[in-house]
């Protein structure tokens, strides 16, 4: 069992929370917008936390019990990058995964030591492969 905090409960955030809960992990899913949680399956391994992660109270509720992985998947690159670095520094989180849509930005921060995931790059790779295999 690993303890996971996910920031952003959009399509990726909520689906990932569901999948990881099925595998037996404990998830805290954080979003500012309560309506975002509606896509989420009921599961007692998933705790929902509403609020702004940059508020000390919210961050402390998410991280103070201990966390193994922090996954950052809000819709905004800049927010993701700041949240990832801020929380990693403050709570000494062992592993942080951050989504960055802009491929150039993703490379820059990979170079600065962040573990970034760029969906744009994956989409391009897959499309190229499909086109070539025809």
């Amino acid at each position: 069992m690993i303890r996971v905090v996910i920031l952003g409960s959009g399509r990726v955030g909520s689906s990932l929370a569901g999948e990881m809960a099925k595998l037996g992990h404990r998830i805290i899913l954080v979003d500012q917008d309560t309506s975002k949680f509606k896509n989420l399956d009921e599961n007692d391994r998933i705790e929902r936390l509403t609020g702004n992660i940059f508020d000390d109270e919210v961050a402390s509720a998410a991280f103070s019990k201990g966390v193994d992985v922090f996954i950052v998947v809000t819709g905004k690159d800049n927010v993701n990058l700041m949240a990832a670095q801020a929380m990693q520094q403050k709570y000494k989180i062992p592993r942080v995964l951050v989504r960055v849509f802009d491929p150039v930005l993703s490379d820059v921060y990979e170079g600065l030591g962040l573990e970034t995931i760029c969906p744009t790059k994956y989409a391009i790779e897959v499309m190229l492969k499909k086109l070539q295999s025809q």
Partner: protein, 217 residues
């Protein structure tokens, strides 16, 4: 000096005007479509349309040859990313970020932003003062109206003031402690506040007694 300013709101706009008037080479970058027309008319060659948190926009803006980059948008996360790109990709020697939420100030400095401030005048004096982060005494602000500065002093671990109470320290005429920084905490100095190792002092001081204050600390 070549200075790139990202964000053409009130702060960025006024800063750009001020620095141009002082004879600097300035580039103002703004992405908001509604602001582009007026800014472009007023600043001409000194204006660039684009999103400053994108690497290609900063490259087009010539940040690689800028001595200073100032990020003045209304979003802290944007200002942070802009300053980090300027440092990491373009090796810009000095980055200054406007911080909208005071809680983010310490984070910004840990992440390598050289200075954080919240108003046009302050940013201007930071650029003019050529603050060196490694200096013992950092003039944070020179108040323009008078001969007075706000400075930060880090007393050495062997300084005579360590272990003393404020009331026991004889300050030169024309100097006053504004606050004591202890780790992340800001302490309002009272007569019975005791100095500890690694404390830093923010002081308001007349220029002519700055040296005298330095000696006391």
């Amino acid at each position: 000096m070549y200075i790139v300013i990202v964000g053409g709101g009130k702060v960025g706009y006024n800063l750009a005007k001020l620095l141009l008037a002082e004879g600097h080479e300035v580039l103002l970058i703004e992405k908001d479509k509604s602001k582009i027309g007026p800014l472009s008319n007023e600043f001409g060659e000194s204006f660039l349309e684009g999103n400053g948190s994108r690497v290609h926009v900063l490259r087009e803006g010539g940040v690689n040859r800028a001595q200073v980059l100032v990020a003045t948008t209304g979003e802290d996360e944007e200002n942070m990313v802009i300053c980090q790109i300027a440092k990491a990709v373009f090796k810009c020697p000095r980055t200054i970020a406007r911080v909208n939420d005071p809680n983010n100030e310490s984070l910004f400095s840990r992440l390598g932003v050289n200075a954080t401030v919240s108003s046009t005048r302050l940013i201007d004096s930071l650029i003019e003062e050529q603050v060196e982060a490694d200096d013992m005494v950092i003039p944070l602000v020179t108040l323009r109206s008078g001969n007075v500065e706000i400075i930060e002093v880090a007393p050495s671990p062997t300084s005579a003031i360590i272990g003393k109470k404020i009331a026991e320290i004889h300050l030169p005429e024309g100097a006053i402690f504004i606050t004591i920084l202890r780790g992340e905490k800001m302490i309002i100095p009272k007569p019975d506040t005791t100095f500890m190792v690694d404390d830093k002092v923010i002081a308001l001081v007349k220029k002519e007694v700055e040296q005298a204050l330095r000696e006391v600390l």
